[in-house]
């Protein structure tokens, strides 16, 4: 019936298609328009600045911060080599490389400790009765969204030489004089662990919560021990969460700024501080920009690895 009435018109199907396509185009235009303000703000004040530091990294350093407009690769050369002030020859100087190595080790160590303690915690949360789980998530979410600076300062107050922990140990008679914990490798890794633990627990919880426990039951039916069930069934099923959690801890830990600033005391530098210092007391903007780009490259490599490993879209936290 419908077909006969349509065929009476002039190219009716074409017309309907035209209308539909025009409507679709209008809708796409509207949706671009809706997204435009966000894109403009992030584009101008988020992406253009990143391009600025690419340009800056190839310029000369001005004496009191800022840049001199001449092409120079000093910022990159200076990463690995030091120029002799007398004969201008280059010597290999591993000082900065050491900071990178330290940052990597700290970030890796932090990720490992977070996984070690975070996995049991996420599993424990995921096996609570459903009505309780939300409150467990809230318990982990509160530190996640609490002020990082303040939380790190709190750690500092506790592990200081005259802090609560040393005072307590002396009072208990365990030690005679304070154990130096602040401004050591230990304090930085502790701080990183403390800062990023929720980043590990939350994605782990998300993947453990969806787990089908009938598979665990099947494992036990086949005479698996608890350890075997954990290693062969639960952990493989939680792998996407494990990978996501490790990324979410490793990436921010690698570029950490606040933690080494407060708990490292300027002696145990990480990449983040090295970059920050170039814009403060160090005052070599091009060098700082170059370091930022090298860090960014590491982050991109890690992200790419993650996308490969997880074979899907990058998951967002929050």
């Amino acid at each position: 019936m419908a077909e006969t009435t349509f065929s009476a018109g002039l190219l009716p199907d074409d017309n309907a298609e035209h209308v539909a396509r025009a409507a679709e185009q209008a809708s796409v235009r509207t949706r671009w328009a809706l997204s435009l303000p966000s894109l403009l703000i992030i584009g101008i004040f988020g992406i253009v600045p990143l391009l600025v530091i690419v340009v800056y990294s190839f310029l000369g350093a001005a004496a009191y911060g800022g840049v001199e407009w001449r092409f120079s690769t000093d910022a990159y050369v200076g990463f690995l080599f030091q120029k002799d002030i007398f004969d201008d020859t280059l010597h290999f100087a591993p000082d900065y490389l050491q900071i990178y190595l330290r940052s990597f080790l700290f970030a890796l160590g932090t990720t490992a400790i977070c996984l070690l303690l975070g996995f049991p915690t996420a599993y424990f949360m995921a096996t609570r009765p459903p009505a309780q789980r939300n409150y467990w998530v809230l318990l982990i979410t509160i530190p996640f969204w609490s002020n990082l600076l303040v939380r790190t300062l709190a750690v500092m107050l506790i592990i200081r030489d005259e802090g609560l922990l040393n005072d307590g140990l002396i009072w208990a008679g365990a030690i005679q004089k304070p154990v130096i914990m602040l401004y050591t490798n230990f304090s930085i890794v502790l701080g990183l662990f403390y800062s990023y633990l929720p980043f590990m627990i939350l994605p782990l919880y998300a993947s453990l919560e969806k787990m089908d426990f009938r598979l665990v039951e099947a494992g036990f039916d086949l005479y698996a021990t608890r350890g075997k069930v954990l290693r062969r069934i639960i952990m493989p099923l939680a792998l996407p969460g494990i990978v996501a959690g490790c990324m979410l801890v490793f990436i921010p830990a690698l570029g950490a700024y606040v933690t080494p600033l407060i708990l490292g005391g300027g002696t145990h530098l990480m990449i983040g501080d090295l970059i920050g210092q170039q814009f403060g007391s160090g005052r070599n903007w091009p060098f700082g920009c170059a370091q930022a780009l090298i860090l960014m490259a590491f982050v991109l490599v890690t992200l790419t690895l993650y996308v490969r490993l997880s074979g899907g879209k990058v998951q967002q936290h929050g």
Binding site: G46, P49, V150, R151, L153, A154, V314
Partner: protein, 283 residues
């Protein structure tokens, strides 16, 4: 190991508990203690009767809070923080809501993935990089174009990283919402604006509130970007607290830190309650 055995009955439903693993309860308690102990210490010593920061003395009192509120610099830092946070939260929530609607409604279109990536970009870039990039950008603007927005620099910088935090919960809410409701409104001759105002927006309120809360928290708490971008006279609360640690420490620092923590916790718990209430209503 005593802890592990005491919590078994909680989990056990029968003679054999499938889900139990040895020591996991203990690990959970360790994590919770490590996460909360520093915050609790900070809180407790903010009421210290002596002027030592971690040695208790005297009777608990409000002295350090009154001291903090009487501090002129603390108050001006609070004013700056409020200005920046309110502006950044409002702008980012508005534009993120629009973008979330633009990227979830109707058929997928070319460029949608690109929009998603750009909107989430601020999350991928380490904060210190964003910080120095923004600083370089604004110094370039000031030097060669003579443009300096003053405290507006910080407002813009905050807006950028608030957008993805506002965007995500709003987008999640939209994805869970039935698009046919809006189509039904259109069938009943509602204009797109009416359909938005009468159907989409009311349903979107929990997502927008969660987004607003997150944007508020990340802006309110930001230290790294603010520290590098802030010009003279643009001290915010986190910056002021950091400056305070460079002077002799008194429990006044604890009081200020506690105030900051309390505000973020208030917003987290608030958005949790909103989400929970909505969920129980729809279920």
């Amino acid at each position: 190991m005593a802890d592990a055995t005491t919590e078994v009955p909680l989990v056990r439903t029968g003679a054999f508990d499938l889900k139990w693993q040895p020591g996991f309860g203990v690990a959970t308690m360790v994590c919770l203690v490590l996460l909360y102990a520093p915050m609790i210490v900070l809180f407790v010593f903010s009421f210290n009767g002596s002027d030592s920061i971690t040695r208790w003395g005297g009777l608990p009192n409000w002295h350090w809070y009154t001291e903090a509120f009487a501090d002129q610099e603390f108050r001006s830092a609070a004013m700056n923080t409020i200005k920046i946070t309110v502006v950044a939260t409002i702008i980012s929530t508005l534009v993120a809501t629009a973008a979330a609607i633009g990227t979830t409604r109707g058929r997928r279109f070319a460029g949608q993935g690109a929009i998603y990536t750009v909107v989430n970009l601020p999350l991928m870039v380490p904060e210190i990089i964003t910080a120095i990039a923004t600083l370089s950008f604004f110094s370039l603007l000031a030097q060669y174009a003579g443009i300096n927005f003053g405290i507006g620099n910080l407002m813009l910088a905050h807006t950028v990283f608030c957008i993805p935090f506002a965007y995500m919960p709003i987008r999640a809410r939209l994805e869970g919402m039935d698009e046919r409701l809006e189509q039904a409104a259109a069938d009943l001759y509602a204009t797109p604006w009416q359909a938005f105002k009468r159907v989409t927006l009311p349903l979107l309120v929990p997502g927008i509130s969660a987004g607003t809360a997150l944007a508020f928290i990340v802006s309110f708490d930001d230290f790294t970007i603010t520290q590098l971008v802030a010009g003279p006279g643009q001290t915010t609360l986190p910056l002021y607290i950091w400056a305070k640690t460079r002077r002799p420490l008194t429990p006044e620092l604890n009081a200020m830190c506690t105030i900051l923590l309390a505000i973020s916790i208030l917003f987290v718990v608030g958005s949790f309650l909103i989400a929970n209430r909505r969920r129980s209503k729809t279920e």
